[in-house]
């Protein structure tokens, strides 16, 4: 499967997905961006990517990149190679990401030979610049045990959106010049007898 997608938007980037490679070693990627009817569309897929053991489910998405207080369309496609069972999806949204349409955050789909692809359409917005995530926890029970897989759909809001960085991080330089992430330990000190 060969893909080279040329991008037309001001955020022009080129992505080459090497799903042909014997070992699909991930390379640093840039998000696929297209401009359709003036809208900047970002898309991604887990198809062909490495996956740890889990449910046989792949996720693809298309989202519109919008400014603050504008509504982004988020179209999610979940596909499975299972031929039966029930696929359950639980969605959670980053703080400060507002859901604009009525959507059941917990959904289930009946999987069959004819029905293996399912769609979830969302509309979200935020009043603050940033890179936000919609998290999906998918489960499928095929009769030999419950299998899970988690996904995250990025939603870009505003100019130069950056992810909300978590953690109480203090980055310093060691005497060697190496970057170090320092945190205070729980410490017990004792003076030893002479």
């Amino acid at each position: 499967m060969k893909k080279a997608i040329l991008l037309l938007a001001p955020l022009l980037m080129m992505v080459g997905l090497s799903a042909n490679s014997k070992k699909i070693d991930p390379k640093e990627e840039t998000t696929i961006v297209k401009t359709i009817s003036g809208n900047i569309i970002l898309e991604g897929t887990t198809v062909g990517k490495y996956a740890k053991p889990g449910a046989p489910i792949d996720m693809s998405y298309k989202t519109t990149k919008v400014d603050t207080n504008e509504t982004a369309d988020v179209n999610i496609t979940l596909s499975t190679t299972a031929s039966n069972g029930t696929m359950m999806v639980a969605m959670t949204f980053d703080d400060k990401l507002t859901i604009e349409n009525e959507v059941d955050q917990n959904q289930s789909f009946d999987v069959s030979q004819e029905a293996k692809t399912f769609f979830i359409n969302l509309k979200v917005s935020s009043s603050e610049n940033g890179l936000y995530y919609i998290r999906l926890l998918t489960k499928i029970d095929k009769g030999y045990g419950l299998k899970l897989r988690s996904f995250a759909v990025p939603v870009y809001i505003g100019d130069d959106p950056k992810p909300k960085v978590k953690g109480n991080i203090q980055i310093q330089k060691a005497s060697s010049g190496e970057n170090i992430s320092v945190s205070k330990a729980v410490e017990t000190i004792k003076v030893l007898p002479k």
Binding site: Y50, G54, A152, S181, V182
Partner: protein, 538 residues
């Protein structure tokens, strides 16, 4: 584990720290809540003692010693049927083994350095008196045998460490114990390192002189299951191994830092990369699917390896606190669509070959060493694509006395006795042999799914007797608009030497080939349901 400490220009000091393989406590406790199907068994075969490990030690310029212990908090799993959660009411203190510990002054300059032993104990020597200093414990293990560290890929690859307070060293020896707490998000790097330590220990039981190429583990609270790979902002796709790096999920939606089996599974891919060989084509996969034989073996091996290292056949993958994750029993899960294409079958076979629990068709307890020897020997150089066929053929050749028992184990997984590396007894149509100058007809199909499933790819062997330019041509014989592509490997050193990726119903490539044996991997890039191809080499 005995450890030989060598100071710079100082006397030799031998320290005994206890024997046996160090093991983080990871849910093998007998009071774990499990059903019969998920009862773990702990019947490890005898192991060799871990050899000496040389720790780079630097003493100070004084006369004091600062002793101590470095620990980290580990959340234990709680299992119930096929579900596993991280039980935050069961947090244990675990030793941080063989990690680097330093004493630094107020400016951060190193005064002395050493490593912890197998129990997390350290001794910083010749510390100057009345000096303001603090102790640092790094998420890093580096010595003559290994070089492993855990960094934050979302903050310039900063190396994780915990430190104590800046305090005066006084005039007598003292102890400073440090603990990485879970509540402060400190313990994850040390938990991840401990999993890797356990895996390396297992390899050392099979080969005491093994040395491990540098490995960087990347973890961050921001590491999330994305569809793009952008590690600088935490988008790592999933916990995976790639090019001497392991990336570990840390976002609350799916944390993997305490999932011992998940991390060791990925370390198994590092092992394949550095010590053995794996031709897996990757992609998503799941038990119950009929996978490409290369993928099936690679993933089955990873799962089995995690159970072998931990001596715990219950592979589990947890999510955020309180949310149910899942588990699978490597040994006792009911076979579902068993066969040479099933990662579940392969993990059961490999674990049964290893363990000392004789169950069902398994009456073998080979331990890890014979499996290791096959993986780093014949499997590494096999002229066929790596699969259960190549592994078992080699294992039987090297352990002829156990052949019948090995066959019994594979037979229980619906695999006919493996007699060659191409699996001829099991699927005569996966590999074909083509004489140069002739043509051959092969078929691919998508009856088992796409794009990495059984029969999506077919393999053609051929021999070259004279170095010159050859034309490899793959023509579609089907009318459903397939797009044949191929990859070409020279099998003597098993290296990719060519490919054909053009669009269209034919793929034609002129390639100069040396004398030797070759393998063509042919597939339909459009993944039509069934396609016939004609292949010629002239």
């Amino acid at each position: 584990m005995k450890r030989l400490l060598v100071g710079l220009g100082t006397a030799l000091l031998l320290t005994a720290c206890g024997g046996g393989t160090s093991t983080p406590s990871t849910g093998s406790s007998p009071d774990k809540n499990t059903t019969d199907n998920n009862t773990t068994t702990n019947n490890p075969p005898p192991t060799k003692e871990i050899p000496f490990v040389v720790c780079p030690e630097q003493n100070g310029t004084g006369s004091l010693t600062i002793l101590g212990k470095i620990e980290y908090e580990r959340i234990q799993p709680q299992h119930s049927g096929g579900a596993t959660i991280l039980d935050t009411s069961n947090i244990t203190n675990e030793s941080a083994k063989d990690i680097i510990v330093t004493a630094v002054d107020a400016s951060g300059a190193t005064i002395a350095s050493t490593c912890t032993d197998g129990s997390g104990n350290y001794a910083l020597k010749e510390i100057p008196e009345s000096t303001s200093l603090k102790v640092r414990a790094y998420a890093k293990m580096k010595n003559s045998t290994w070089d492993v560290k855990v960094v934050d890929n979302t903050h310039s690859d900063a190396l994780y460490l915990i430190e104590g307070s800046l305090r005066d060293s006084g005039t007598t020896d003292s102890s400073r114990d440090l603990k990485a707490s879970y509540a402060n998000d400190q313990s994850a790097p040390f938990a991840i390192l401990d999993s890797v330590h356990q895996a390396m220990d297992k390899v050392l039981t099979a080969n005491s002189s093994a040395t491990f190429p540098a490995l960087k583990l990347n973890w961050s609270l921001n590491n999330i299951s994305s569809s793009t790979f952008k590690p600088k902002i935490g988008q790592i796709v999933t916990t995976l191994y790639s090019n001497s790096n392991i990336y570990v999920l840390g976002d609350k939606s799916d944390t993997d830092e305490f999932d011992n089996h998940v991390i060791i599974h990925e370390w198994g891919h590092y092992f394949e990369d550095m010590f053995s060989r794996a031709d897996s084509i990757g992609g998503s996969h799941s038990a119950g699917q009929k996978l490409d034989i290369r993928l099936a073996f690679g993933e089955g091996f990873g799962n089995a390896f995690s159970a072998i290292v931990t001596d715990d056949p219950l592979y589990y993958d947890t999510l955020q606190n309180g949310t149910q994750g899942s588990n699978m029993n490597i040994e006792s899960a009911t076979p579902y669509v068993p066969g040479y294409f099933s990662e579940a079958s392969i993990q059961r076979i490999l674990y049964d070959l290893y363990d000392s629990n004789n169950d069902g068709a398994d009456s073998l307890s080979m331990g890890f060493t014979p499996l290791y020897n096959t993986l780093v020997g014949a499997e590494k150089t096999t002229p066929a694509f790596t699969s259960i066929f190549t592994f078992i053929t080699a294992l039987k050749n090297e352990n002829a006395d156990s052949s019948a028992k090995i066959d019994a184990i594979t037979s229980a997984e619906n695999i006919s006795d493996i007699s060659d590396i191409y699996g001829t007894n099991n699927n005569a149509f996966l590999y074909a042999y083509l004489r140069v100058g002739d043509s051959i007809r092969i078929s691919t199909n998508t009856s088992n799914g796409v794009p990495n499933k059984l029969e999506n790819h077919k393999y053609i062997r051929f021999s070259i007797n004279r170095r010159k330019s050859y034309r490899i041509r793959v023509d579609s014989l089907s009318s459903n608009s397939p797009d044949p592509d191929f990859e070409l490997f020279k099998t003597s050193s098993f290296i990719k030497v060519g490919q054909g990726y053009n669009s269209g119903t034919s793929e034609v490539k002129d390639i100069t080939l040396d004398e030797g044996e070759y393998l063509l991997d042919i597939y339909d890039a459009n993944f039509k349901s069934r396609v016939d191809f004609s292949v010629t080499i002239n």
